[in-house]
Amino acid sequence: MTMKPRHKRTAMIVGGLAAIGIAAYFVLNAFQSNLVFFFTPSQVEAGEAPQNRTFRIGGLVKEGSVKRDNLTVSFIVTDTAKEVPVTYTGILPDLFKEGKGVVAQGQIKEDGKFTASEVLAKHDENYMPPEAQHAMDQAEIEKAGKTLK
């Protein structure tokens, strides 16, 4: 059967809309559950970060805070104003260093510690993760605001 052009166009439009609809469904579904928000240590301290949902924190690894117990590492992420204790089990990226920028992804558990499932430190010694930089800038602004008051 050869289709009339009009029917063909209708079929194409219907098919296209169906595809877009299905895709939109997948996308929105996946979006909702997979957006990972970023919070600064100050925001975490203020209780703005969600419980039992994965999010990211960033800042500097506090000097002298890294402690290793076999493969489990604990350290403190600071934005120079507030601090968040973090634990991570596994191998840290090459550029993880005290005093350097870091971004960690994970959840806050009952003990109030941030349990990281992933620690990100990009591959450039001069590189400061943008989120970590952002955290410190925010803390800086906060401080400036307080002294003005």
Binding site: K8, V27, F38, N70, L71, D124
Partner: protein
């Protein structure tokens, strides 16, 4: 002196490109043959100038001329020769120059291999490419000149990022860029067709080999990048859905749709506007990709604010290219549109369905890539879209693509019936479902995802072999079968091989992070790894801690692996160099983590992987590239040239 010559050549290239762009297009519009005749020599002159400029920059790198800022930032006197040359494209400015070199290289190729094309077409195509070159030349000369000198000459360079000191960097970026830029050719052909107001089967036949060639380069480029990330980053991953990767994957997805849509346009004269649209989108995405990766937007959208000149230029350039071509499309696409009929069950329909699915997948990936950037630039907060999103979206959209791929290649053009198709495909379907569902049992744990991945892969492979066998058996047919037919099957089998690799790795990989002291063993994937020692080993521009790990199966030591942890002199930055034992059915992968404080004995964190069938991922890409190459080389694309050659041959014999 040499860098100034390079800079001068770039400056000189600007008026050449502008003249080429304006005169060839104007020549095409007005029909002035003398202007059109300038297109070929103009394009070739542009290549020579760019190549000369590129040569000057390479020379500056080779001779460690740290008075050039770009060299001082990306090289070092201790850098091995090979990496000193590849460091040319290790940063923003040099990448742009490489981009331009590739663009003019493609233009050179078009000017040489276009004898079968009408002059109007050639001059319009080269004119459009010339204008693109103008954009890039302006961008480089105004904001990103690689030849800027330093008044304060440093004693040594800052060095190339150790990650980039790898043979991977020598081949990956040029290949990828060749693919990116190659998509400018179908783009230019489309613009030329819109200007011509005529788009016929001949147009599609001229465009196809270029689109396919660009797609082949892109495929190889992406595969090399993935392979490089796998062995160099030390995390054992091969695809991270990182914005940089997505930037290269987006044009690939649309390019894949394009080469198939072009097939319909050539064979059946259909989907003309759609084909044009895809070629416009594909090139726009590759421009977007180039800028996303190279402008610093990905590190922070606020990089735009720190260097507003670059950001504004990029946005303007994108707006002109994308906006201009879309306006032209809106104005002229009515002229090229043509009716033709095909039934709901026909090869056209299945190709169209897969085209729509591929574009949808690209749109979903684009959304996930750009969304965080948009939210951030609107100051609505910081967020990231991780691999789970992309996996959740991409896999369901691509699954039907694999299914329809086979049906599309079995269905007849114009008109077919479900009953006929079912009859032809039933045996293949039965065998692939049976094999796909039982094979996971042999591998160990049965899982629905693995069964589905294997079923679809076997479905594709089997269908291709059955079709090739039929074609081959029919000897009369076999001799006249164009090479592109075999190319198609090789590429489709490549997809299947790649999917098998992905399925097996996702389904059965094992990974262990362990603490090891010398003499310790760990079992992964049926193998035993024993750490027998760690030595200090000096390299050319680094020091390394080098582990010695025995790979044991049963009682037999199969191989000794040497993972390294390197510290580069110039940056004191550590680098993990994984040790990998590759075979066709599995990779085992060891990387050395940090040194751990132990109770007296030195201990190390180690990461050990067993990755079944991972090399099939890249093997599949390689097959796709070969298949694409076969298709692009089909002799029907250069019929006139062939005729001329055979004349020459006859003369040669006579002499």
């Amino acid at each position: 002196m040499i860098p100034e010559l390079g800079h001068f050549a770039l400056i000189l290239a600007l008026p050449v490109a502008a003249a080429l762009g304006i005169l060839s297009l104007a020549g095409g519009q007005t029909g002035r043959a003398d202007w059109m005749a300038l297109a070929r020599p103009g394009a070739q002159a542009l290549w020579w100038l760019t190549a000369f400029s590129f040569g000057c920059l390479t020379y500056a790198f080779y001779t460690n001329d740290f008075s050039v800022m770009y060299v001082a930032q990306h090289s070092n006197s201790k850098l091995p020769d090979l990496y000193r040359v590849s460091a040319v494209w290790g940063g923003h400015e040099g990448s742009l120059l490489l981009w331009l070199l590739m663009l003019t290289g493609w233009m050179m190729a078009v000017s040489i291999f276009s004898r079968q094309l009408p002059d109007v077409m050639v001059s319009r195509v080269l004119g459009v490419l010339g204008l693109i070159a103008v954009g890039f030349l302006l961008f480089m000369l105004i904001t990103s000149n690689p030849f800027v000198r330093l008044s304060d000459i440093p004693a040594d360079g800052r060095d190339l990022n150790p990650l980039l000191q790898d043979p991977g960097l020598v081949f990956h970026p040029p290949m990828l860029y060749m693919g990116y830029v190659g998509l400018a050719i179908p783009f230019a052909f489309s613009i030329a067709a819109l200007l011509n107001g005529r788009l016929d089967a001949a147009w599609a036949r001229w465009t196809r080999p270029w689109a396919t060639a660009a797609w082949v380069c892109l495929t190889i480029g992406i595969a090399l990048g993935s392979w490089w990330a796998y062995y160099e980053l030390g995390w054992g991953g091969w695809w991270f859905w990182d914005p940089v990767e997505n930037a290269s994957f987006l044009p690939w997805l649309v390019g894949t749709a394009l080469i198939h849509s072009l097939a319909v346009t050539e064979k059946r004269g259909l989907f003309r506007s759609w084909t044009i649209m895809l070629s416009l989108i594909a090139f726009s995405l590759s421009l977007l990709g180039t800028f996303l990766v190279r402008s610093g937007v990905l590190t922070s959208v606020h990089a735009f604010a720190t260097d507003p000149k670059r950001g504004v230029f990029i946005l303007l350039f994108l707006a002109v290219v994308v906006g201009g071509s879309l306006i032209l499309f809106a104005m002229r696409s009515g002229k090229v549109r043509a009716g033709g009929s095909f039934s709901l069950v026909s090869r056209e329909t299945f190709l169209l369905v897969n085209n729509v699915l591929l574009t949808t997948a690209a749109a979903a990936v684009l959304l996930g890539t750009l969304y965080p950037l948009i939210i951030d630039s609107l100051n609505l907060g910081k967020l990231s879209v991780g691999p789970p999103y992309f996996n959740a979206v991409f896999a369901p959209i691509m699954t039907p693509v694999l299914f329809f791929m086979v049906i599309g290649s079995y269905a007849r053009w114009k008109n077919d019936t479900v009953a006929e198709l079912t009859k032809r495909l039933r045996p293949v379907a039965i065998v692939s479902v049976l094999l796909g569902c039982t094979l996971p049992l042999l591998a160990g744990a049965w899982s629905a995802l693995v069964a589905m991945g294997l079923t679809l892969s076997i479905w594709i492979v089997l269908a291709s072999f059955v079709q090739m066998y039929r074609q081959f058996k029919d000897t009369a047919n076999w001799k006249s079968t164009p090479i592109s037919y075999w190319g198609m099957h090789v590429a489709h089998i490549g997809i299947a091989v790649c999917v098998i690799g992905i399925t097996m790795v996702k389904g059965y990989e094992t990974e262990k992070d362990v603490r090891m002291t010398i003499g310790d063993t760990v079992d992964v994937g049926g193998y035993t790894f024993r750490l027998t020692g760690i030595q200090q080993v000096p390299g050319p521009n680094y020091n390394a801690d080098r582990g010695t790990v025995d790979l044991i199966k049963g009682d037999r030591v199969l191989r000794t692996l040497h993972p390294e942890k390197r510290t580069y002199f110039s940056s004191t930055m550590p680098m993990t160099e994984a040790a990998i034992d590759t075979s066709l059915t599995r990779d085992v992968y060891v990387s050395l983590g940090e040194k751990l404080e132990g109770d007296g004995k030195p201990a190390w964190a180690m990461r050990v992987y067993h990755k079944p069938f991972i090399s099939w991922i890249w093997l599949g890409c390689f097959l796709m590239a070969i298949g694409g190459g076969m298709a692009a080389l089909d002799k029907r694309y250069r019929k006139k040239v062939a005729a001329k050659l055979s004349l020459k041959d006859i003369k040669g014999v006579a002499a």
